[in-house]
Amino acid sequence: MIAIADLVKKYGTFAAVDGMSLTVEPGEIHGFLGPNGAGKTTTIRMIAGLLQPTSGRVVVNGHDMAANPEAAKSSLGFIPDRPYLYEKLTAGEFLRFHGGLYGIDGDGIDGRVREMLDLFELRRWEHELVESFSHGMKQRLVMAGAFLHRPRAVVVDEPMVGLDPRGARLIKDVFRRMSERGVAILMSTHTLEVAEEMSHRISIINRGQLIAQGTVDEVRGLAGGEDHLTSVFLKLTGGGGLQEIDEAV
């Protein structure tokens, strides 16, 4: 479970995240939507323990991220928007190292690494250097790392960027299976179709504040019963600019 309460992050006088509260229950896929600069990545970084909140609380599986970061991180998987990988390591070496960070070593690690490489269709490249990987392969390798230690909660920043349709389908299947096993997934995305298709609940944020939350149908209701999530999103986040674009073009 992921729970954030009254989370604030300020840069000087500018509040990137302003009093955000949110709960992702076990087994739930929670879509986290918002326009560029709304504060999604900042929120996700605070949940992952990469950024210190100005105030508020982040709790992962009952562990407070500020008070007990190691325990909170042990049960969390983090998939960043831009996958950082050690370019001169092989895929296998990277996952073994990643496993070591989460205390998986000895006999168990090799089997688990192969399992993850199989799951993310990377087994053929186990002994290839990461620098020779395409963006999609790197993305899948990062996900393999994030799920390697069997996290009970996962935060994902833009999971589908750079993936081909097969890769995207694979990731969706993995997320669904993880959710069926009780993993709480908070997924930030710009792809509204993905959010609509996969999320049990969604949250829409704008200017650092939560402006809508609920199931897709509930959020549609908030926007006056619009059919498409895109229209709901634009209505809630101020999409009037589209008309101006029409005029300008």
């Binding site: 210190q52 950082y84 050690y86 092989t90 989460y102």
Partner: protein
């Protein structure tokens, strides 16, 4: 994480192993080139230290005194360097390194992460000092026929000696990052550390250590060393390290200073660890904030570019390259040590005392003019490989913008050529003309050198831009690009080219000067040879530049296929 902190160093060790295992094209050439240079430098340091220690041994007690002082000064010189290096390295390892996102999101106990990062910082900040000190200390030990314990003691001395200033530097960084955003702090620190390095070179130059080699200045030596003494010296780790090693050289032990080194190093590590526990996360959080530095609009560049007779595309490429370069502090800061070296170079020519050999001074001055030309050629090659060769690589991931725009790749590459040529030509012409003026060389040679260096600049800039386009390293740091296969190939070709040019210019110039000194008129055959040599040098320069550029354009065009 249950593993010891050394596990966190594994990715770097595995990466190094993988890099060593998987050979890339040009590895052998690169390894041979840098290996020969490295061995040459180590050999020179060893021989220098060996020779000097042997010379000092001849002066018995005074020699011992100088050696003891010299060891302390050797360590003192590096103390400041290590502290600055610690500041800059820790900024990267503790706050800016990209793998921190992975590591900080993992459940790693903070103490272990600290130890791993600190070990990496010490290694990163001190490897150059260690590489430099090893041949020097081995040279000193060999000259004094030191026992094996001297070498073991040297290792046990250098480790805590390096740890102390690096820990202090890392502490300063921790403080600074909590005050300034890290990216801004890095710019400030790089400026300070490079100014420090440049000042050090200049100070060393202006205290004129070469005067110690002159017999007539022997009475000044005591004053010279007295000036280097200071009341705070015994409180510094450099003094403790020097004393420990000197005791070993004498066949004794100095446990007091050895213990002072180790206890201080451990205390620094413990204190830094506590400070890290308290302030690291806050600093790391701040380091992710975008640098709120004011963006300098650099309007002067727009104005200058507008005044130049360039097409719109050429003008925009020029403005873009100039602004990108000037806004990247770490790039242009590297010009500071270069400036220091240039001042040093000119200062050396100014102090060159050729009048001590009166009958030869006229001839020597003119030989030095050719040496100056060769040196200027090598300086030019070094500057070109660092600043001009990476011109295409520096487009990085944004190169698609140029490739998808309606610009011919030929225009693009020639724009890079002109952007590199103009500043380099101004710089190197200034250097050559000033040096020849300071030496008072023959007017004929002044003209030859001034024209020749212009042709050499055209050739080397063309070669650098062309090879840089042929062997680009998109996304690599410019320093990495300069050390790549293409960069090394450029250096090899540049050295060959400069050598050929010196032969082509030196032979006819000397012939002409000899004939003038002796008052003999050159035969017409020799005159033809003289003109043919100069024309060949000019043709070689133009051809080198043109073929390299053509090859570069072709290589860029092949990328689109």
């Amino acid at each position: 994480m249950n593993a010891p902190f050394t596990f966190l160093l594994a990715p770097h060790l595995w990466s190094m192993r993988n890099r060593a295992r998987r050979r890339e094209r040009g590895d052998l050439l690169r390894a041979s080139f840098f290996g020969v240079i490295g061995l040459g430098v180590c050999g020179a340091l060893f021989l220098g230290a060996f020779w000097l220690t042997r010379q000092l041994a001849a002066f018995e007690e005074f020699g011992d005194y100088l050696l003891r002082l010299g060891l302390s000064w050797l360590f003192l010189t590096f103390l400041g360097f290590l502290a600055f290096s610690g500041v800059v390295s820790s900024l990267s390892t503790f706050f800016l390194s990209e793998d921190l996102r992975l590591l900080l999101a993992a459940p790693i106990p903070q103490g272990r992460l600290f130890l791993a990062r600190f070990a990496r910082t010490v290694g990163q900040a001190s490897w150059m000092v260690t590489m430099f000190m090893t041949p020097v200390l081995v040279g000193v030990g060999a000259a004094r026929c030191a026992p094996a314990t001297f070498y073991a003691s040297a290792v046990l001395t250098v480790v805590p000696f390096a740890t102390i200033p690096v820990a202090m530097g890392a502490g300063a960084t921790l403080l600074l990052v909590n005050v300034l955003p890290a990216r801004r702090a890095r710019d400030v620190l790089m400026l300070v550390s490079l100014l420090f390095a440049a000042t050090l070179v200049l100070i060393l130059r202006f205290i004129q250590p070469e005067r110690l080699l002159r017999v007539e200045s022997l009475p000044d030596i005591a004053d010279f060393f007295a000036n280097l003494q200071s009341p705070v010296t015994p409180l510094l780790p450099s003094f403790w390290a020097g004393e420990s090693l000197f005791a070993e050289l004498q066949g004794g032990r100095d446990l007091l200073h050895g213990a002072a080194l180790w206890t201080t190093a451990l205390a620094c590590t413990v204190l830094l660890s506590a400070a890290d526990r308290r302030w690291h996360f806050a600093g790391y959080s701040r380091s992710q904030e975008a640098a709120k530095a004011r963006v300098n609009q650099l309007k002067a560049i727009d104005l200058v570019a507008r005044a130049l007779p360039l097409s719109t595309v050429q003008r925009q490429l020029l403005v873009k390259d100039a602004k990108v370069f000037l806004r990247n502090v770490s790039q242009w800061l590297q010009l500071l040590p270069l400036l220091a070296l240039v001042l040093l170079y000119l200062y050396n020519f100014r102090t060159l005392d050729l009048e001590r050999i009166p009958y030869m001074s006229g001839f020597l001055k003119n030989v030095y003019a050719l040496v100056n030309l060769a040196m200027a050629g090598f300086v030019l090659a070094t500057v070109a490989v660092r600043f001009v060769f990476p011109a295409v690589s520096s487009e990085g991931a944004a190169f698609w913008i140029v490739r998808t725009s309606p610009i011919s790749l030929r225009d693009f590459l020639w724009s890079k050529f002109w952007t590199g040529l103009v500043p380099l030509l101004v710089f190197i012409e200034g250097l050559t003309v000033t040096a020849n003026e300071l030496m008072g060389v023959d007017p004929f040679l002044k003209v030859v050198a001034a024209v020749a260096i212009a042709f050499m600049t055209v050739a080397l800039v063309g070669l650098a831009v062309g090879l840089g386009a042929r062997y680009p390293r998109f996304g690599a740091d410019p320093t990495e690009a300069a050390g790549s296969y293409g960069g090394v190939a450029f250096m090899v070709l540049a050295v060959l080219y400069v050598t050929v040019m010196i032969v082509l210019l030196g032979w006819p110039s000397s012939m002409w000067l000899f004939s003038r000194f002796r008052g003999i008129r050159l035969s017409s055959v020799r005159e033809v040879f003289l003109i043919a040599s100069f024309v060949s040098a000019a043709a070689l320069s133009v051809a080198t530049s043109w073929f390299a550029m053509r090859s570069g354009v072709q290589a860029l065009e092949r990328m689109n296929r």
